[in-house]
């Protein structure tokens, strides 16, 4: 197979961040008027300063500095995190692609770029490592070459990037496709304007229109999947996705990668903080942020949708995990060697692997070639994780019961099943339900990593909103509050269950139900 990957080092991917409504017509003039707070105006002055860059983009290698210096760049997960670091004076400057800078400055006029460009970066499409790879690679190369030759790509870039307007830009006509050659799955970030973002339930943006046209031309139907940026290349290499978008072309990519030719090029710039006085007062500012985070574009719906998905994953995992843990305990409780062996190994593995790694292994390795949805894979993964906890809880809970209880029941003539359900379980439940509650809470929190496998949960939705608004405060607080609310509701439910089944809280009437008392 062509372009097999031996050395993955060669290529690291990147995504271009959300580009928001920027078309600042007077951007250049503003910059000239602003004075940088720390007095830095040229790239040379940045040597030895605290500099930031987005993880995995490898932008720092494009400046042409020695490796000792580029190694010192601090790595950030999202452009907005760098912005916050800059404003809280943890960074002196950060490196970002030009388009991202304009998008950020729309909300943060205090930002300014150094006039010198630090370098440029090319972006390509990664072709999934599966049986369709050869065909898709050839078709994509042809498509890009044609698009460059007849100026279509340039026009597309002008429309979406250079003349970006968040209020008017949209895919005007969705191209018709015959779909005769089946479906292709395309991994996009999904929250990065103007390349891929969600608007009114549809994916929009440069990447989306680009891929729709590709599909139309070659007779495919498209299936866009949004996910954490880090997961795009991983998933494509695992063969789970047919295409991954917005991958940085590295100088060394050479012959080993499965990257196509670049489909757009973008300048890299250093961003510093300038002297700027906001015209808005504090409350005005807050109201504006609030409006942007929740009201505009009905963004509250994203939170609601994310919360729904987080709840779905959590509740399903609790139900299935409880059943799984219970089944495992039932199979193991009499010391069956096979059952204990299997349970022991699964427990050992799941307890030893970080949740996010476990989920990615499930998604990209075990179910790599299947088309199970990320939500379903998350439910499977978290059911196992919760099931392990459940199994442990049952062991502790039943272990806490004096063996005399079982012996007394057996001696009276209770069968094994009768004594388990009538004598042991009601007592064990009171031992393990408190742990169960804290496991429920940890589970809700743990599900926040599902964004890595393309699930739009509450955390991911919060990130999406943040990446569109470039305002961190309300989105983060809202996400935190919603997690608290979900935890409180689920814990309240478990509490109710615990009270209901607490044998010692039954009323006298309940105990003496259907009995005529003797005097």
């Amino acid at each position: 197979m062509k372009n097999r990957i031996n050395k993955i080092i060669v290529l690291i991917l990147c995504l271009v961040m959300a580009f928001q409504a920027v078309a600042f017509a007077d951007g250049e003039t503003q910059e000239q008027e602003m004075i940088p707070k720390n007095g830095i105006t040229t790239i040379d002055e940045l040597h030895g300063k605290r500099l930031g860059v987005q993880t995995g983009t490898l932008y720092e290698q494009a400046i042409g500095w020695p490796k000792e210096e580029t190694d010192k760049f601090e790595q950030y997960k999202m452009p907005n995190d760098m912005l916050l670091a800059l404003e809280s004076n943890k960074l002196d400057a950060y490196l970002i692609e030009e388009v991202g800078f304009y998008a950020q400055r729309y909300e943060h006029p205090e930002l300014m770029r150094l006039k010198e460009k630090a370098g440029e970066s090319q972006f390509a499409v990664i072709v999934g490592n599966n049986e369709k790879q050869d065909v898709l690679y050839a078709q994509m190369e042809e498509f890009i070459a044609e698009g460059k030759a007849n100026g279509w790509l340039d026009g597309l870039y002008d429309y979406w990037v250079r003349n970006w307007n968040p209020n008017t830009c949209k895919i005007e006509t969705i191209p018709e496709t015959t779909g005769e050659n089946g479906e292709v799955i395309i991994a996009i970030e999904g929250g990065y304007e103007p390349f891929s973002y969600e608007s009114n339930g549809q994916f929009e943006g440069y990447d989306v229109e680009f891929m729709m046209n590709f599909c139309a031309k070659y007779g495919y139907t498209w299936n866009f999947q949004a996910m954490e940026f880090d997961a795009i290349a991983v998933g494509a290499i695992a063969g789970k996705y047919d295409f991954g978008m917005n991958i940085v072309v590295d100088e060394e990519r050479a012959e080993d990668s499965v990257l196509t030719d670049w489909y757009y090029v973008c300048d890299l710039v250093f961003v510093v903080e300038g002297e700027y006085e906001s015209e808005m007062g504090f409350f005005e500012n807050m109201a504006y942020s609030f409006e942007k985070t929740f009201i505009r574009d009905n963004r509250w719906r994203l939170f609601a949708e994310g919360m729904g998905r987080t709840l779905l994953i959590t509740v399903m995992s609790i139900i299935l995990g409880t059943a799984l843990g219970f089944a495992a305990y039932m199979a193991c409780r009499h010391g069956n060697k096979v059952a204990n062996g299997i349970t022991g190994v699964i427990n050992w593995l799941i307890e030893g692997i970080p949740t996010v790694v476990f989920l990615m292994i499930l998604s990209f390795v075990i179910f790599g070639k299947t088309q199970l949805s990320g939500t379903l894979i998350s439910i499977i993964g978290f059911s196992f994780i919760f099931g392990c906890g459940m199994y442990g809880m049952l062991k502790v809970g039943f272990g806490a019961i004096h063996k005399g209880q079982f012996e007394a029941a057996t001696a009276l003539g209770y069968s094994d099943t009768q004594s388990f359900f009538k004598i042991l379980l009601p007592q064990a439940a009171q031992h393990f339900l408190p742990i169960y509650k804290s496991n429920v809470v940890s589970l809700i929190k743990e599900t926040s990593v599902v964004g890595y496998i393309a699930v739009m949960d509450l955390t991911k939705m919060g990130d999406l909103v943040r990446s569109r608004t470039y305002l961190a405060f309300f989105a983060l607080i809202a996400v935190a509050v919603l997690y608290f609310v979900m935890e409180a509701v689920l814990v309240a439910i478990v509490n109710q269950v615990q009270l209901r089944i607490d044998p010692k809280r039954r009323s006298k009437e309940k105990i003496l139900e259907g009995i005529v008392e003797k005097e």
């Binding site: 004096h402 005399g404 209880q405 012996e407 007394a408 029941a409 057996t410 001696a411 009276l412 003539g413 209770y414 069968s415 009768q418 009538k422 004598i423 009601p426 007592q427 009171q430 044998p503 010692k504 006298k508 105990i511 003496l512 139900e513 259907g514 009995i515 005529v516 003797k518």
Partner: protein, 367 residues
């Protein structure tokens, strides 16, 4: 009738039951006695199959319950068991502890079960505690309820596994009197106990177990008053003695003094004599033998013979001999001098045993 044939129970390292055969007739009240760890409880737990015997047969009314395919749960309904640790179901009220097994296992109606439970609670004097939970009751009360729970199932035999050994001394009586009451109704019972007096009074047969076997069997009179075999004799005698091995100089004489105190209380020995024994023991061991070279190796026993009313301190020890008449302790000397005191102090020549010295001080009581 329960017939036990060649019952053996083996674990990896120990064999608590070796080839035990015994027949329990209807109406028997059998007391099982013997030193700790000789398989008494194991025998009981094998009868209702809480422990699966390694080999042998148990035949209950003609049915071999060790045979594969035997419905043990049905058999167990006919055998009640009372445990050392009561084992009342902690999540159920006293009333439900007695009611629920009847409903679940015997198919009685709630009302029938309730009536039966209240009748039995009345019998054991705990009618008022029906709606309490077990952990709200004293050990003695819990055990009485456990007995009521067993009786509610109308078992053909009741197995008591040390029913009073987990109880505070003040509560032993109330439980024993309930058991005595049941014994009078002619129900078949088997009781493992360390309370010899109780065993003697309640049973019609006594099994003395030693080394996983029924070592000697007889009526209470035969076993307690005229035991025939060596180990039984020693056991019955040792019921009235305290023995210690003193093998280093850190020996806890305080604990010994406490035990001696309890022992004296139990046997109604007056303080005067026990404190004399204590003085003698400490004088000989601490003040003299401990002064010799090497680790001490002393076997000490304190014996009380109820019949002749003599309290004896006997010491056997290895190494150098200490002549007790050379003591300079005035108090000790005066004890030795008393007319009610008998002293033996000798070196055992050519001793083939561990100890080559023997000292015994006997104190008689004289009005």
């Amino acid at each position: 009738m329960i017939e036990i044939r060649n019952l053996t129970k083996e674990y990896e390292n120990v064999t608590p039951l070796k080839d035990v055969s015994v027949t329990i007739n209807d109406g028997d009240v059998i007391a099982v006695i013997g030193p700790s760890g000789t398989g008494k409880s194991t025998l009981l737990r094998c009868i209702n199959q809480l422990e699966t015997p390694t080999s042998g047969q148990i035949i209950v009314d003609g049915q071999d319950i060790t045979a594969p395919g035997c419905d043990l749960n049905e058999v167990r309904k006919k055998m009640g068991m009372v445990f050392q640790s009561f084992n009342l179901f902690g999540h159920l009220t006293v009333l439900e502890n007695i009611m629920n097994p009847q409903i679940t296992l015997l198919g009685r109606s709630r009302q029938e079960a309730y009536d039966k439970a209240m009748e039995l609670l009345d019998k054991v004097g705990l009618w008022a505690k029906a709606l309490n939970y077990p952990d709200e009751l004293s050990g003695g009360q819990q055990q009485r309820i456990a007995i009521a729970r067993t009786l509610a199932m109308d078992p053909e035999i009741i197995l008591f596994d040390e029913p009073t050994s987990a109880l505070d001394p003040s509560m032993i009586g109330e439980v024993q009197s309930i058991i005595r009451m049941i014994a009078k109704t002619g129900r078949t019972m088997m009781i493992v106990t360390h309370e010899m007096d109780f065993a003697k009074k309640i049973s019609n047969r006594v099994l003395f177990m030693d080394g996983g076997n029924i070592y000697e069997e007889g009526t209470p009179k035969e076993i307690f008053e005229n035991p025939k075999k060596e180990k039984t004799i020693r056991f019955i005698k040792r019921l009235t003695s305290l023995t210690y091995r003193i093998e280093n100089r850190d020996f806890d004489f305080e604990a010994l003094a406490d035990e001696l105190q309890l022992y004296a209380e139990k046997l109604l020995i007056e303080n005067d004599r026990t404190s004399k024994i204590q003085i003698a023991l400490e004088e000989i061991c601490v003040n003299n033998i401990f002064g010799f070279e090497g680790e001490p190796n002393i076997y000490a026993s304190i014996d009380y013979s109820e019949k002749s009313d003599i309290l004896t301190l006997e010491l056997k020890y290895a190494g150098e001999h200490y002549d007790i008449t050379t003591s300079e302790n005035v108090l000790f000397n005066s004890i030795l001098q008393e007319p009610t005191t008998t002293v033996v102090d000798e070196v055992i020549e050519n001793s083939t045993k561990w100890y080559n010295n023997h000292t015994a001080i006997s104190l008689r009581w004289e009005d």
